[in-house]
Symmetry: C2
């Protein structure tokens, strides 16, 4: 709960220079390794190990992410970002229905990390703004990709993306534990089949 001098402004203002490329590279690498470590070992994964696997010293990791929570938050935000970008990319590259399928599969991956990270950040620092904002992003991405499928006639107009999302969330948190991912993946097929206009 300590207040950092430099954190008053979200952006670091005194830097007139371009950020160093290796720093950026390392930052992203650490996030990627950390995501794997957290999903594999839980939110308590060894940070020294993550640094080692990323090929950097502990100091480097802690300069980029002053606390475990900061790293968890960064991983979570990166995941949300990926989800939002993917919505656009899939819209361009795939058929409307396949785009939804691919995006929902990605959403399942996202839930896996959210499950861990949200729990770890529970009673801690006021994480609400971050979560609030990312919710909007996820919802926006879903709307983008579903609207297109409705326009093209692959999905009935009365389908709400939130219906699909909540169904998946439900399975994730209340289905049989072992392979909830498999259940969720199967559910995606059912949802898509059941959301087509020409009902059997």
């Amino acid at each position: 709960m300590k207040i950092e001098k430099t954190s008053v402004n979200a952006e670091k203002l005194p830097s007139s220079r371009k950020p160093r490329s290796d720093g950026q590279r390392n930052r992203e690498l650490i996030i990627q390794i950390a995501k794997e470590a957290f999903t594999r070992h839980g939110a308590g994964a060894s940070l020294d190990d993550i640094a080692k696997q990323a090929g950097v010293g502990a100091g480097t990791l802690y300069r980029h992410f002053p606390s475990r929570e900061a790293l968890l938050g960064a991983v979570y935000q990166a995941e949300v970002e990926k989800l939002a970008e993917a919505a656009n990319q899939f819209s361009r590259e795939l058929s409307p229905e396949e785009a939804i399928r691919a995006w929902l599969h990605l959403f399942i991956e996202y839930l896996a990390t959210k499950k861990i990270i949200a729990a770890a950040l529970n009673g801690l620092v006021g994480s609400s703004p971050v979560f609030e904002e990312s919710m909007l992003k996820v919802r926006g991405a879903a709307t983008t990709i579903y609207d297109r499928a409705i326009q093209s006639g692959d999905v009935r107009p009365d389908i709400n993306p939130v219906d699909h999302i909540l169904a998946i969330v439900g399975v994730t948190f209340f289905g049989p534990s072992e392979d909830w991912k498999a259940s969720a993946t199967r559910l995606v097929d059912i949802l898509l089949r059941g959301s087509r206009p020409s009902s059997s």
Copy 2:
């Protein structure tokens, strides 16, 4: 991932003696303290601290629960047990609708701990049997308490407890982060009002 000799049988068979009462008392006390610690500080709460707060030595804690995961699992199971017992107790002591309300409130508490514990136990030891079984217990408790309300005419017969449960799970995991508990509590009122036979 180590295999314990004594874990082959769920019950300890060679003990002809009654289990010592202080052992049982300490075990339950530790679970209770641990639940508070985990919900307050997350799944990484200090085990030595928990032992200290429970007034026992670290060795005692570790004898009862050889690993952090064992303790997390015990807390989770106790929570499920409480949920199942409460369904019966509320059925006896409260009106059908109030019983549901009270039980759903307890369910929200249960979700708070499940959120933390399920995430921590994610990729770890084959937790499936425990979770599988507790799912059945929760579902059974819900059925018990909803059936009674349907019989008494406080809830429409077409209402499925799973509908209510999934709605709450959805808010818990996909609603605004800050005070999801408050949202969930409000949702309970809405659900109950909306599930009465005499619709406005």
